[in-house]
Subunit: 244 residues, 2 copies
DNA sequence: CGGGATTCTCAGGTAATTCACAGGCAGCCG
DNA sequence: CGGCTGCCTGTGAATTACCTGAGAATCCCG
């Protein structure tokens, strides 16, 4: 199975070339943020700031997936979507939307197997959803079974179940996302800033010590009594690796 | 047994190639929606916006099934149907129709083994009917188990009968579709948004908590007293899996 | 047209979850 | 060894997510 430079499994197209993703968002800060996170996954990313550009790049790049902000300035997102579909009928789309827009608009849009994320989102979530779309669309090879394992710790991204040594462990949504991020990067130190950026919403304005707090929660649930898997690197961050 | 990328069984043609479906509808938004949902089933889909195009694609594609909106602009649906039949006499057709369309008319149309759904429909329903047509027409590799089972819970997609541990359970239409969707994705967390998109009509504009409500109904009927099969993943969605 | 079944809204209740705050502990430096 | 800094974690408050009863509106069937 192919692995990326940083040791995680990655999705590739059937011909072995990297998956191509188009990000369409008029807020360039957001587009850049996303773009960086997706490149880190080993994907080839292009960004477009408006609908016209999006269509142009779609023609040229023929992306395997599109991340589309549905509130765009020039054309609205729906128009862009229509033209996208004419170019590439099958391309899976991940919509970005405001939380309160969800009810009316999105229902129906996302129906065919597309998906959406509400702003403000966490990068972990965007990446996870996009992986799901790619996996299902079949554009990407590699059935990565959606199960992460580190030592006797197992996390199933489909059922959201976590167990250690066969024993079920109940995690809250935030704990789950934090653990997923750690397990996607085993034996690698992740700084509190990185974790905050990936697991919490991009506009999180709270105290930085939430990360410490949630690490503490995870330890209680995962490492309790056993040989610890979550380790602190003082002044650097945290990492997860198999115990003993 | 062939499975789609997301792990569900899929229908294939006798030669192993994907089932080919033609969608004929002048509302492109609707055609796209359908097309996406059907592709998600692993089928090869082409869309036509009017009757002339429909005939052209039929000649070229020779589809295994056709989804036909019977109110088309240029020719009316009946004319299209006639010409379709001349090209491919045996192809099963799923009609899309307005709710108030004359009953007799439809009854006559669907007499030959065809079927129909009224607008606005839910994607679950269209997919289910189309599967039924394909299964019966024999175009798709016959494995006519239209029965889903998870633990001792059994759901028959043909007869719409549901039982747990041998005991019949009566479900309403909406409850049935929700349960079917869950059972088609066992051990997989489905978000409320996903459920809303698949199970409710594409134009549903109501409160998102109908999903919670119907989950509650289902639990009362399915899990009552027994070891629960429907589980809540707080902050993520719902999933079904065998009890214990 | 009437009555029962069904779908859905609304709103109150409950429990889980998130997070801030603050005191305590531990490693590390001079 | 003393003190500084970074990390850990108990407590509790605010918020959120979810569940469900009651009833209105609608559909369906005879």
């Amino acid at each position: 199975m192919p692995t990326s430079p940083h040791g995680r499994t990655e999705l590739l197209r059937p011909d072995g070339s990297p998956v191509r993703v188009l990000v369409v968002d008029d807020e360039s800060a957001l587009a850049d943020l996303l773009s960086m996170a997706l490149r880190y996954e080993g994907w080839e990313v292009r960004t477009a700031g408006d609908g016209a550009e999006a269509i142009r790049i779609t023609r040229e790049l023929r992306p395997d997936a599109v991340v589309l902000d549905i509130m765009l300035p020039d054309m609205d997102g729906l128009a862009v979507l229509g033209r996208l579909r004419r170019e590439l009928p099958d391309v899976p789309v991940l919509f970005l939307t405001a939380r309160d827009a969800v009810e009316d608009r999105i229902a129906g849009l996302t129906a065919g197997g597309d998906d959406y994320v509400t702003k403000p989102f966490s990068l972990e979530e965007v990446v996870a959803r996009l992986r799901g779309l790619l996996r299902r669309s079949g554009a990407a090879a590699a059935r990565s079974e959606s199960v992460l394992a580190v030592g006797d710790l197992v996390l199933d991204e489909d059922s959201h179940e976590v167990s250690r040594g066969g024993r079920e462990i109940h995690l809250t949504a935030t704990e789950f996302e934090l653990l997923r991020y750690l397990m996607r990067n085993p034996r690698r130190v992740l700084s509190k800033a990185q974790i905050l950026d990936r697991v919490w919403s991009y506009d999180f304005g709270g105290q930085a010590n939430v990360v410490e707090l949630y690490i503490s929660y995870l330890r209680r649930k995962i490492d309790a009594g056993r040989s610890p898997m979550i380790h602190t690197r003082r002044g650097a961050g945290y990492l997860i690796k198999p115990g003993e």
